[in-house]
Amino acid sequence: MPLFREPEGGAWVAIRATLKRDLVLMMRRRSEVLNPLVFFALVITLFPIGISPDPELLAVIAPGLLWVAALLAALLSLDSLFRSDFDDGSLEQLLLSPQPLPALALAKVAVHWLLTGLPLALMAPLLGILLSLPSGSYAVLALSLALGSASLSLIGAIGAALTVGLSRGGVLLSLLVLPLYIPVLIFGAGAVQAAILGDGVSAHLAILGALLAVALGLAPWAIAASLRISING
């Protein structure tokens, strides 16, 4: 074996390998994938029981309720995004790789969204039936959640990166990201409400898309910087 071999594969090889690794890891820890979905379903199931089974009342609160429950489910699943890597020493290897850290972090967040946010978005219409969500808004519900949960994953990953070094970082993580989650929630739930009223949803969805674009542009660098701060501490 030579003493030194110039690295051949570039950033894309590393990104693809990280995507594959994280996908395999999450698929092997089924509970991590199922927990947010179960939480989502539980919250939605308990509300008609706890408040009132009146379909008209439920239909009014359904858009916001579905969005808030999905948001919380996504938030709860974020704490483990970097924790296992931090605990077993993989995170410091990630930081020492010559490949760009923002790109590798984005790969991890992409897997998280694929196995958390997207399933939540696909499951939401089913739970909408439980809440008597008026017809005509189911597709918008799934679409707004799919777009919005991607932003939630990106923003939440910044908080997860900042708190990964702390032993009880969970509460702090929620406090950090919640202010940034509120715009996404407002326009996401607003899109569903607009669909129910028959108004145009394109404005809301466009803003959700714009929020996602900003998140995609800024979050990877913020996540990388936060990871370095956490390891530093």
Binding site: M1, F4, E6, R21, L25, L96, R228, N232
Partner: protein
């Protein structure tokens, strides 16, 4: 090839305590530098500072006679760092773990190389088990397999002998010596006394915060 890792007047304070002060280091190709000291004397901190993971220190770092901050990418491309935690994912098999490290290091995706590296570390037959089912020593061997797999001149190893049995320790010592002989350099923290050799130098930390240069 020329390798030179230099630190001038390195100082690090943790919890109102100086771990080391005015520390000068000059590591060349062909050397094995052993950092020793009692628990808590700052060995791991020193390694993290030298590998660029900690920014909270005073002093200057130089890689091949250039300031480290300007040569960081080049430094990282020449570095193989094994931390105190093995960096082995319990849910992945040793092969899958090594495949990720290969991709991260820009090495070609050669499965034969992964098998060979694991066999060289005494893990033949364990390649397809989830790493969580292996013993602590075996997990560390998976991490050490990166030494076989990814050719890098500068090895920075934090307690690499942890949990390794006697034969493994002897084999690893031989590997370090061979690496230095080929022109690489090794910076290692360990409580284990390495065999005397002209390539070996020792740095002792934990002598009250004032450490001599070496």
């Amino acid at each position: 090839m020329s390798l030179r890792l230099q630190a001038r007047k390195l100082a690090c304070e943790r919890d109102d305590r100086w771990l080391f002060r005015d520390l000068d280091l000059d590591i060349h190709a062909g050397e094995i530098v052993r950092v020793e000291g009692p628990n808590g004397s700052g060995k791991t901190t020193l390694l993290k500072i030298l590998s660029g993971q900690l920014a909270d220190f005073e002093g200057e770092l130089y890689w091949n006679d250039h300031p480290m901050r300007r040569k960081r990418q080049d430094f990282l491309a020449n570095l193989l760092y094994l931390g105190h935690a093995p960096g082995v994912k319990a849910a992945l098999t040793p092969l899958e773990n090594l495949a990720w490290y290969q991709a991260l290091a820009g090495e070609p995706d050669a499965e034969a190389a992964r098998f060979a590296a694991l066999a060289a570390m005494g893990l033949a037959g364990f390649e397809d088990l989830p790493a969580g089912q292996l013993s602590a020593g075996q997990q560390r061997r998976v991490a050490l397999a990166r030494l076989e797999l990814i050719p890098r001149p500068l090895w920075v190893l934090d307690e690499p002998f942890t949990a390794i049995d006697r034969d493994g320790v002897a084999a690893l010592e031989g590997r370090l010596a061979a690496h230095a002989l080929r022109g690489g350099c090794v910076l290692v923290t360990t409580h284990h006394a390495l065999a005397e050799s002209p390539a070996l130098r020792c740095i002792r930390l934990g002598q009250g915060g004032d450490d001599a240069a070496l």
